[in-house]
């Protein structure tokens, strides 16, 4: 990865120097060695702090819409597969113009779920995190913890079908090979074997944990509404307390709003302070949209999103 980082910095420096972009959205080291933070590199001096490794879990696409730029300026973005898909979806939804974005593809082999790391290292300070083949090593003062890559990867990364951005302008090193055989749908299939009351009990248990902090929504690249339905006060759709019914409605409606748009980056789950299983619902919706409407979000920039389109031949077996 060190090689990737150096090549990335060189490339970003070159792009900024040649004024091909006014800003590059990337990752920098975060509050601990196994976290990263988004960074806006606007000058060549800023490029030294750029990193790309297993800790870079933020979905950067959402900063595209918020990034200050003059008319006609192009913005670069360091893109894993899911960032790239989110950018493509933005283009499809008319949120950014393709020509305004320079997508810098990076080879992603999955990102950490910091909670899984926290479970092992507890509250000890990690000063270094390195990947050694299939092992991830966390080092600190007087300790070293080694974990299997598969034990610390984010669950969404284990299901990843698109590790590379579907569209890119430059790629640092080579695109990684997608491993479709590893794209586990087992969780979903296993869950569907449960009876209705067990499924309901599961979701009640999960959503009962929710404290309505909206971190999932804020981390989500697709939740970009200027005013979210939960924040509206006229009409006020939802109670402001953590009443279970209101909380469940929030999660159902969020799943509906991201239907045919969710790029499965798992940012919501990583952002959730309560570790709620947020992706199960999204996985089911993803499958429905794919099988029913033949649409997978974030792959083709000029395709009309599934929920904004229709087909006269859509199946309607559920309609009386």
């Amino acid at each position: 990865m060190a090689n990737v980082e150096q090549l990335l910095r060189d490339k970003v420096e070159e792009l900024l120097k040649e004024k091909k972009v006014s800003c590059v959205i990337g990752h920098a080291r975060g509050s601990t060695a196994f976290r990263s933070t988004p960074v806006f590199a606007r000058s060549e001096a800023d490029t030294d702090g750029l990193i790309f490794d297993i800790t870079c879990g933020n979905n950067l696409a959402q900063y595209l819409r918020r990034c200050d730029r003059a008319q006609g300026d192009r913005v670069g973005i360091v893109a894993k597969g899911c960032d790239g898909r989110a950018v493509v979806q933005y283009v499809a939804e008319g949120q950014v113009k393709r020509e305004d974005v320079l997508i810098i593809g990076v080879p992603c082999e999955g990102v950490l779920d910091h909670r899984k790391v926290r479970d092992r290292v507890q509250d000890r300070d990690v000063s270094r995190c390195r990947v050694d083949g299939e092992t991830v090593v966390f080092e600190g003062k007087d300790f070293e913890v080694s974990m299997d890559r598969s034990d610390v990867l984010s669950d969404s990364c284990k299901r990843c079908r698109y590790p590379n951005p579907p569209v890119y302008d430059v790629f640092i090193t080579e695109p990684v090979e997608a491993a479709p055989e590893k794209c586990g749908r087992q969780e979903l299939e296993k869950f569907e074997e449960l009876g209705a009351s067990e499924r309901w009990a599961f979701f009640e248990k999960e959503f009962a944990k929710c404290i309505r902090c909206y971190a999932c929504r804020n981390a989500c690249p697709m939740c970009y509404c200027e005013e979210c339905f939960v924040d509206q006060s006229d009409p006020q759709w939802f109670g402001k307390s953590t009443d279970l019914s209101d909380t469940m409605l929030f999660h159902i409606v969020r799943a509906l709003h991201t239907a045919g748009r969710c790029v499965e980056c798992g940012a919501c789950e990583r952002a959730c302070p309560l570790g709620i299983n947020l992706s199960l619902l999204n996985q089911r919706v993803e499958r429905e949209v794919r099988e029913r409407f033949g649409y997978t979000p974030g792959l083709v920039p000029d395709q009309i999103p599934a929920m904004a389109a229709y087909n006269e031949e859509d199946k309607q077996e559920f309609i009386l």
């Binding site: 569907e192 009876g195 339905f229 469940m248 159902i252 919706v285």
Partner: protein, 172 residues
């Protein structure tokens, strides 16, 4: 400590018994309340035709006239369930007959996803239903309402997603 736990349990059991008794009592006299979103151009007119033709159908639906089935935000349906309706029916024009050309096609996609989500989570499939009824189908309107009412009756009073049951809500 043990004693206190025991007394709490018996109190809960007591409450559960009360509830069970209440349910069996109300089940015989209980009638479902179903909200029907009817599109102005087809299904509402279909309901009207059923009325003027004096076709009988169960009195369990409360009709809300909407300009188009595409106007029905899935949130409306969820709010109905949250606020104590036992079932929701959305009815619009047949495909190809939408007054606004494509409103019902777009609605169909929304409803397909909503139904998937609710049933995946474990909500009873019959609670939320959709139909196409044209202005000329008074007979079909009556059949749809009869079927939906029977389905919801079989499921019993809605318990999932219900926010708060006020005493005035349980009586009709």
């Amino acid at each position: 400590m043990k004693e206190r736990m025991d007394s709490t349990r018996s109190h809960q059991e007591h409450k559960a018994d009360d509830k069970r008794a209440e349910r069996t009592e109300t089940r015989n006299s209980w009638q479902p309340r179903i909200l029907a979103f009817l599109c102005n151009w087809c299904s509402y007119a279909g309901a009207d035709l059923a009325g003027v033709s004096r076709i009988q159908y169960p009195p369990n639906i409360r009709a809300v006239r909407v300009p188009c089935s595409g106007r029905v935000n899935p949130i409306f349906i969820l709010k109905c369930l949250q606020n104590g309706f036992d079932g929701v029916l959305v009815s619009g024009c047949h495909p190809g007959d939408c007054h606004y050309i494509s409103g019902n096609y777009v609605a169909r996609r929304k409803f397909a996803v909503l139904k998937t989500v609710l049933e995946f989570m474990g909500l009873e499939p019959g609670r939320v239903q959709f139909s196409w009824v044209s202005a000329g189908e008074g007979e079909k309107f009556a059949q749809v309402v009869t079927r939906v009412t029977e389905d919801v009756k079989r499921l019993g009073p809605a318990r999932k997603l219900v926010k708060a049951v006020r005493s005035s809500d349980t009586k009709d």
